[in-house]
Symmetry: C3
Subunit: 159 residues, 3 copies
Amino acid sequence: MLIIKYFKAISDAAMAEEVKKKAKLAIIAWSGSVDKLYPVAILSSAAAAGGWEVELFFTFWGLNAIRKEMLNAPPKISSDYAEYGPAVAQAMKEMNMPPWHQLLAQAKAMGNVKIYACSTTMQLFGIKDKSALADFVDDVVGAATFLERAKDAAVTLFI
Amino acid sequence: MLIIKYFKAISDAAMAEEVKKKAKLAIIAWSGSVDKLYPVAILSSAAAAGGWEVELFFTFWGLNAIRKEMLNAPPKISSDYAEYGPAVAQAMKEMNMPPWHQLLAQAKAMGNVKIYACSTTMQLFGIKDKSALADFVDDVVGAATFLERAKDAAVTLFI
Amino acid sequence: MLIIKYFKAISDAAMAEEVKKKAKLAIIAWSGSVDKLYPVAILSSAAAAGGWEVELFFTFWGLNAIRKEMLNAPPKISSDYAEYGPAVAQAMKEMNMPPWHQLLAQAKAMGNVKIYACSTTMQLFGIKDKSALADFVDDVVGAATFLERAKDAAVTLFI
C-alpha cells in the first residue's frame, strides 16, 4: 500500500514535470505548395541565422514535395490563391528569390537545422529510404520521436 | 499615489508571470479533410502513448467533420492534392489504417486525451448540443477556455 | 586547450539557455480566406480579453487580405469548403457577427495586441508602406524580428 502511494507520488511528479524551453523552432511541414514551403524555408533561415536550433518534420504533401524528382518540378501554388500565381512568380523572379529548397539547404549549411522525414508517410507513398529524398534530409523518424524533439522548442508550428 | 504605484507593480508582475510548460500537446483542429484529420489523430496517438497530455479543440470544418453523420461519410482529401487521392486511399487500405476518428478514439481510451468542441462554431452550424457529435467529445467550450488549457502545453498547433 | 574548453562551456550554456514563457499568443496569419481569418480574430480577441499579450504577423495571403482595398471586398471561403459558404454566411448574418477585421480592431482597442506586416511579402506584392494596409498594423518587420517576439509566447500558431 505504501509502495503504491510511493509510485503514485513519483508518477504525479513525472506528469507535472516542467519542460524547459529554448531558442528553437520546430515545424511540421505538411503542405506541398510553394506558398507554404517558402514560409518553412524563410522561417528556418531566419531562426538559424539568429542562432536558434531548427527541427523540421516533413510529412504528407510536404514529404511528397521533397522527393528528388519533385524538387525541380514546376512549383504549385495553393488553388485558393491561384489567381495571384503569375504575378507572384514574376515578382519572385525580379527579386532573384532562390527556390525554397535551396533557401532551406543554405539555412542548413549555415546553422543548426535538422530535417526529418515522416516514417508513416514514407510507407504510405511507397518510398523505400531517404535516398529518394532531398539530400538535406537527416533521418526518417516517427511522430513520437519528432514530438520529443519539438518538446523544448520555443516556437512550434504546423504549416 | 503610492497605492497606484503599488498596484502598477502588482500588475507588471502579473503580466510578466512565467507560464510553466509540461509534456502536453494542444491542437486546434480546424480542417475537415482527412489528410489533415489523420495528422491530428496520429500526433494525438503518439503523444498519448508517450505519456503526454493531449487537448484538442475542434472548430470550423474540423467540428463539422465530427458531427455523427459525417464520421462515416466518404473521406475528402484537400483539393490541392486531389490527384493523389486514389493512390493514397489504396495505400491506406493495404496498410490496414483505421479511420482517423477510430485512431483518435483509441488514443483517448489509452491515454490522457481531452476533446472539446468550439461553442461559437456549434452556434454557427446550428448544432444544439454534443449529442450530435462523435462520442469522444468531452465538452463544448469557447476559445478563451481552450487557450487557458493550451497555455501550459509544450507543443501547440493549428491544423 | 583550456581556453577551448572554456569557450565550449560558454557556448553550451548559451545553447541551453532557458526561454521563459508567459501568457502570450503569437500567430503567423498566412491565409487570406475568411474561414481562417475569423479564427485569427476570435483567438486574438479571447486572448486579449483574458489579459494575454497578442502578437500577429500577417504574411503571404494574410497580408494581401489586410490591404485597405481588400477589407471590404466580398469575403472568400476556402475552396475545400465552398459548399458550406452560403449557409455559413447566412448564419453569421443572423448571429450579427461583425467582419473579422472589425473584431480584430476591437481586440486591439481593448487589449495588448500588436500587429505586424511581413516585410518580404510587402516587397513581393509591391506594397510600398503600411499606409496601404489596415489601420491596425503597427509596423512592418521581418521573420527574424517576429520570431524574437514569439519566443516567449505560451501559444504559437500558423493559421
